[in-house]
Symmetry: C2
Subunit: 351 residues, 2 copies
């Protein structure tokens, strides 16, 4: 078990006046990995004295290998509830956003406290080793990109680019893609989550490549946009608007003072100078770590203050229906007094 | 919208005496794809007259392109609740297993009916086109495997096998891996979900390769186990026990009569003849379709009757701690009177 992390969770238990919390990690097991150190699916029960990992037989051996003790062979929430009952636990903190209605109902016999998002809030501040892992995931993706860069010529298809990029990420050490690699050219880039097709890249098109690597459970996430061919004044204007929106919103972050929502507004303001803010249809960014999307979210109205050792993306984009899309995404690490850009967007292609 | 599928959902609404149901598809959007035809994240609201897709601005254009009408720009459950309220809807069917506590609470003003698993139950019976898509995903994975087969020699690492297999699946048309490809050799195969390492394959080891392709949203899932080198009597015995467990449990299925749990028991019984059932630590299989794991689950006590047009895996395995693992997985399509094995486990390596 990751005892220092669990201690921080116990501080939260005190804050919320709870005796225990239940971390449910089936399918998405990021919290389980973070607090137990075991890459298994299961249910982690943390009370004030101990932490116990409940797993099915499928993960029992892996869990034992990773945490040695306090592994219980069952994933049944009734068993978890009985376990807590026997320990005399009364107040249980549960995540109302992430546990299903049925899962919460399994703890009807207890006093239930809304403990929503508390693990995400802890995971938001990265440890030194986590930052190194995220950087490794970012540099691996960037190196893979450099490898395929010479092949980005008119005639290659979106899917060919994606296939080669994923292959190179894996060859460079990635365990897998952090998420489905996006390669979107011309009007296809109108869809922020476009999946690569057999469409060939044509001269004069913007090409959006959104990709990341997963290594040791940690992720990277970045987006490059290239223009194939002639840089017309109109295209320069569009690209530069997004580029400056990214640059100025990154630059304005004052660690410990700036709120996540303010950074979003800064990017939006920059785009509005060019009349392009109506084409900016998503949030400005999101935390990156054990999950590709995690706290903090750089979205309107989010009052979370950006603090040292947070890692998040800044990714303004514009999507002009029927015509084109442009998105530039880099990852930002907040330091004590300033911010570091991880795997800078290569702007050899900037105008 | 997929009107025939929505009609079937309405029959369920009548059965449960509901006015409407809400299908929540954020992150896992399989139900949204299935019932709306749009590959977007969102919330689908189906009542007795119409179906409306609520999406954020990120997916608005994609949703409109796919379904033309009945797309509403909001993903806020309060807006969904207001929408239902204005329509005079009173009884809402919700999935208690898959909606979070907070999500269910958004419908406090309504009479809530437990509508759990109803979409999974509908999706369990595949349509003709879906079966073709699943087969395509299976054949693509198999063809990729054939391509890398000549390279499976001692000295190659687990990760190299996985990297090449994923690359070939993509080159053969897969949009991505259906799930993280597993290559586990020797004692690493003790862990059913082992992630590929830089360990080299050695002579005399069993190598478990569990892989699948995703195409057009549909998945395949199969596992081959090979023995590198000499086929000793002891190893033959172990392999054949798993092989016969797979074969006899597949063979015993009588469409419309056999229950999912009975097939599990048949495989277990076969393994027990060799004293190996204690090493069989997971379910025997699961449905495959828009999700890699879906209904029906071939697990102890599951009374679901196996019916025509179900597609599921049969994957017995043994995991001997500290020593080895063997798993054989093929996909089965149930017909009116018999069963078809999709992408048969190649048993050129069988003993």
């Amino acid at each position: 078990m990751m005892s220092q992390r669990i201690e921080k969770l116990r501080e939260k238990l005190n804050e919320f006046n709870c005796d225990a919390t239940i971390i449910f990690g089936i399918q998405n097991n990021a919290d389980i990995k973070y607090f137990s150190g075991a890459d298994v699916e299961g249910v982690l029960v943390v009370d004030k004295e101990e932490a116990n990992l409940f797993v099915s037989s499928l993960y029992y051996q892996s869990a034992l290998d990773a945490v040695k003790n306090n592994v219980i062979l069952s994933r049944d929430l009734e068993d978890v509830a009985n376990f807590l009952g026997k320990k005399g636990i009364k107040k249980v903190g549960l995540d109302f956003f992430r546990l299903s209605y049925k899962q919460i109902k399994a703890f009807d016999g207890f006093e239930i406290v809304d403990f929503s998002n508390q693990t995400l809030i802890l995971r938001m501040i990265k440890e030194c080793d986590e930052i190194n892992q995220i950087k490794r995931a970012a540099f691996t993706a960037r190196n893979a990109f450099i490898k395929i860069y010479p092949y980005l010529k008119p005639g290659i298809t979106e899917k060919e680019i994606a296939d080669e990029l994923v292959y190179q990420m894996r060859k460079h050490g990635a365990e897998k893609e952090a998420f489905d690699t996006i390669v979107a050219s011309g009007a296809n880039a109108v869809y922020p989550h476009h999946m690569p097709t057999d469409k060939k890249i044509e001269d004069g098109e913007f090409v959006v490549i959104d990709f990341g690597a997963n290594i040791n459970g940690y992720n990277s996430d970045m987006t490059y946009t290239f223009l194939m061919g002639e840089k017309t004044d109109e295209k320069k204007k569009l690209f530069n608007a997004v580029f400056y929106a990214q640059l100025y919103s990154t630059e304005m972050i004052a660690p410990g003072r700036t709120k996540a929502g303010e950074v979003y507004e800064r990017a939006k303001k920059e785009l509005s100078k060019f009349g392009l803010d109506k084409y900016f249809i998503h949030g400005l960014g999101h935390g990156v770590g054990l999950e590709v999307h995690e706290f903090p979210y750089l979205v309107p109205g989010n009052d979370i203050v950006l603090q040292p050792n947070m890692v998040f993306t800044i990714e303004p984009g514009i999507y002009v229906p029927g015509e084109l899309g442009i998105r530039l995404e880099h990852m930002v690490l907040v330091h004590e007094t300033d911010t570091e850009i991880i795997a800078f967007t290569p702007f050899m292609e900037a105008m």
